[in-house]
Each structure stands twice: as structure tokens, then as C-alpha cells.
Amino acid sequence: MAIDSGDTAFIIICTAMVMLMTPGVGLFYGGMVRGKNIISMVAMAFIAFAIVSIQWVTIGYSLAFGPDIAGFIGGLDHMFLAGVGLDGNGIPDMLFMMFQMVFAGITLAILTSGVAERIKLSSFIVLGLLWTTFVYDPLAHWAWGGGWASEMGALDFAGGTVVHISSGFGALALALVIGSRAGFGKYSMEAENITITLLGGALLWFGWFAFNAGSALAADGIAVNALVVTNISAAAGAITWMAAAWIKGKPSSLGLISGAVAGLVAITPASGFVGPMSAIVIGGFAGLLCYGALLLRVRKGLDESLDAWAVHGMGGLWGAIATGIFASAAIGGVDGLIYGNVNQFMIQLLDATVAMVYAFTMTFILAKIVDKVMGLRVTEEEEYIGLDISQHGESTTA
């Protein structure tokens, strides 16, 4: 098959839309922190994207998609994009490489949740490069590069394990290593710029269509299915989270948008395999589950306060499992639990568990190493002044 202009057009644009999600994450997070750290959050998203862009074309892509080594990692054959050409099957190979790059970029940006308002910029850069290399790249290889998980038949359409479990449980590990923000639990640390968070959320919702539909790698029926279930799940998550928050108190807009993201996360691995009515259930339950996870986190006094763990980690876990429950052969060729396929359900469970454990453990180890070698955290004064001034020498008045 040659290059198809429709598919190529589709994936180029999808790549751009997923790229926009990375600053989207930065704005989403930036609005939730105190005003003295908003630049830091947005800047880290950009930095994540920039360093991963270079890491990916030099070594990352090859680690993820090079010839399989022991089911665990790709070989170095594609370092510096060797052998990645402008032709291919439907879309150019180079475009596939690029589409995958934007996934790697945003994943690192999501991870910043766990260290918000207290990480040293230099340490973030080092940690980020290590993390992408030792956590993201292997996970991408397992799911999509011919690693053990895909060999086993695990389904992850657009990155439930690779993107969300990895960054969510990674953020949890980081929060444990770096410790709570000074004054956490003592002073209220409320979102200061909710408008910006909502804007970031809008960009996420927008880009997610490309994230999931684009993962079909063609402008076809599967892409359309992914598009439709993605939106349904987002809407359902927004509604259930809002409703649950309403019962407990007020229906905050942060809850609404967090619910939407929870729905988007949960449908991610499933979007090429489940139908619209399953999406209502997947998204709706994601809203409740992730809200519950957030409440649990708060009760435990854990300062993973932008909730990558609650939303991406738990939402991704649920999504991976839900794929094993609701998959329909009529859509993606594989049946799940509700169609009697217990096996697929068990595969999903195993895959998600391994991803979770691996991401958490490796992130914990990497964070400990960076902490020992160069210190993860800013000084008390720098934290008090805020990272905008102390790390970037800037502040924003408006």
C-alpha cells in the first residue's frame, strides 16, 4: 500500500493537535497552582516537550520501536532516525515516528503534577530525560513496539498504560520522594487562575480527539469510532464527577473539567475497541472513581495535588481494565468480558498491573537517584518566593 493523502493529512493534523495538548497540560496545571508558580508549570510543559523531542529523534524512538530485544526494549537501529523514511504504508514511517513523539512529550508534562511548586528546574530536566528513557520508552515498546504486552495480546489503543498509568503512578512516586509542599495541609492552597485551567482543559478535550482517533493511524471507521466514544466518555465523566461533587457540596468547575479528563483518560485504551453505549459507562464510572481517588488522596494527606495519580493513574487503570470488559469484536476485532472473553480481561489486568508497578518503582528509583546526586527540591526560600521568580527569574502580574 502506498501513501494515502487522506490518512497522511489526518495524522499530520492529529500530530499538531496532540502537540497542543502539552501546553494544554501546562495551562491546566498552571491555573491550579498558586500564582507564584504558574509560569513554572507552563514552562515545564514546554521544556518537557522540547527535551523529549530531541530525545525521541536521537534515541527514544529507536528504544520504543526498534527491533524487539527480549520483549522488553527496542534495539538502537533507528537512532538518529536511521532507516525512518518518508514513505510507508498508508502514512509515511516518519509521520508515525512524529505522531509517537507527541505522545512521549505530553506524558512527561503530565508527570509534573507530582512535583508541582517545589522541583528544581535543572533536576526536572535530568529526571525528565531519564524518565522518558527508562519508563516511557520501554512501556511504549511493550504496548506498541512489539514488546511482551502486545505479544500477549494486551489492548491499549491510544495509551492507557503507556501514557496514563505511567505518568499517573509516576507522579505518585515523585510526590512521595519529593515530599509535600511547605505548609501543605496547614494553609489553603487554592487554584488561583481557574479560567486558565478551563482553557487548558478545553485544549485537552480538543486534542484528545486527535490523540484517540489519530491512534487508528488512518481516517477510517475505527478513527470515527474512537472520536465518538472519546467525546461520550468525556461528557459522561464530567457529568458524574460534577454530580458527585454536587452531592457533597458545590459543583465546582474544576470538578467538571477533572471529570471530563477522567473520562478522556479512561476511554483512551478502549477507544478503538468499544462502542458508544459502553463509553457512557466507562466515562461515567471514571468520573466517580477518580473523584473517589482524589478524596482518598486528600484524606491520606498526600500532596500529589494536581491529581495526575487520581485522574490519569486511576483513570488509566480503570480504562485498561474496562477495555477487557467492554471490548466488542464488532468494533475492534476482540471481545471482552461482557461478551464472555475472560481471557482478554485477565490479560488487561496483568498488563495494567505490570505497567503500574513498573512505572511506580522505576520512577521512585530514578527520583531517589536524582535527589541524591543533585537534589530534587528547591530550598525553603525559593519555594516560599515561588518557582517563577526563583527558577525562572520572572513573574506574572496579571
Binding site: K36, G183, K186, Y187, S188, T379, E381, E382, Y384, I385, I389, S390
Partner: protein
């Protein structure tokens, strides 16, 4: 009548408000300000050289109260806003001659 003007750390506002409320002191007006004290702000070590950040966000509370309330209020604010580190802030007491309500014609005139 006196005006109590307290410059405190913004993150202590909730505590101070709660402590004052407990003792029955409600009315206040709050300003978001920036300031520096005798320590000239906060020092960041930056690759060898020191950088001074000299305008730190603070919260200024204004309360106009009877003369007899000045002492207790100073103590409440001290207790609830103190961290013991530089930058905790100051309390200033100054005279007020008339307090006039806008809603009605009530007025209190300091003798």
C-alpha cells in the same frame, strides 16, 4: 477609636481571621500588598551570587476598633500570625477620630 493595621503573611490570613472571629472581632478590610522589612526581603543563593527578592506579597488587615480592643487584638494577631521567622510582619496602631456608617446615620466620635 484606633486603627489597627497589620501586615501579615498571606498564608496566615485564614488563621488570623479565625482567631479574631473566635474572640468576636469581625469587621476588617483587607489589602493585598507587597513589602519589605528590615531584612530587605528574601535572599536566594544563585550560582555563587546572592539575589535579593525585595518585594514579597503580604496581606494588610485594617481594623478600626475601640481603644480598649487594641491590646487584645495585637495579641491575637501575634499569636495567630507568628511563625518566628523573618517576614512575619508588623502591627501599627494609629488614631481615628470619627467612624461613620454609610447604611445609616450612626456615628462614633472619639473624644
Amino acid at each position: 477609636m484606633k486603627k489597627v493595621t497589620a501586615v501579615i503573611r498571606p498564608e496566615k490570613l485564614e488563621d488570623v481571621k479565625a482567631a479574631l472571629e473566635e474572640k468576636g472581632y469581625f469587621p476588617m478590610t483587607v489589602h493585598e500588598v507587597k513589602g519589605r522589612g528590615a531584612q530587605k526581603g528574601i535572599c536566594l543563593q544563585y550560582r555563587g551570587k546572592q539575589i535579593k527578592v525585595d518585594m514579597i506579597p503580604k496581606t494588610e488587615i485594617e481594623m478600626v476598633v475601640g481603644d480598649e480592643d487594641v491590646r487584645p487584638i495585637i495579641e491575637i494577631i501575634r499569636t495567630s500570625a507568628r511563625t518566628g521567622k523573618f517576614g512575619d510582619g508588623k502591627i501599627f496602631i494609629s488614631p481615628v477620630e470619627i467612624v461613620a456608617a454609610i447604611r445609616n446615620d450612626e456615628e462614633i466620635i472619639s473624644e
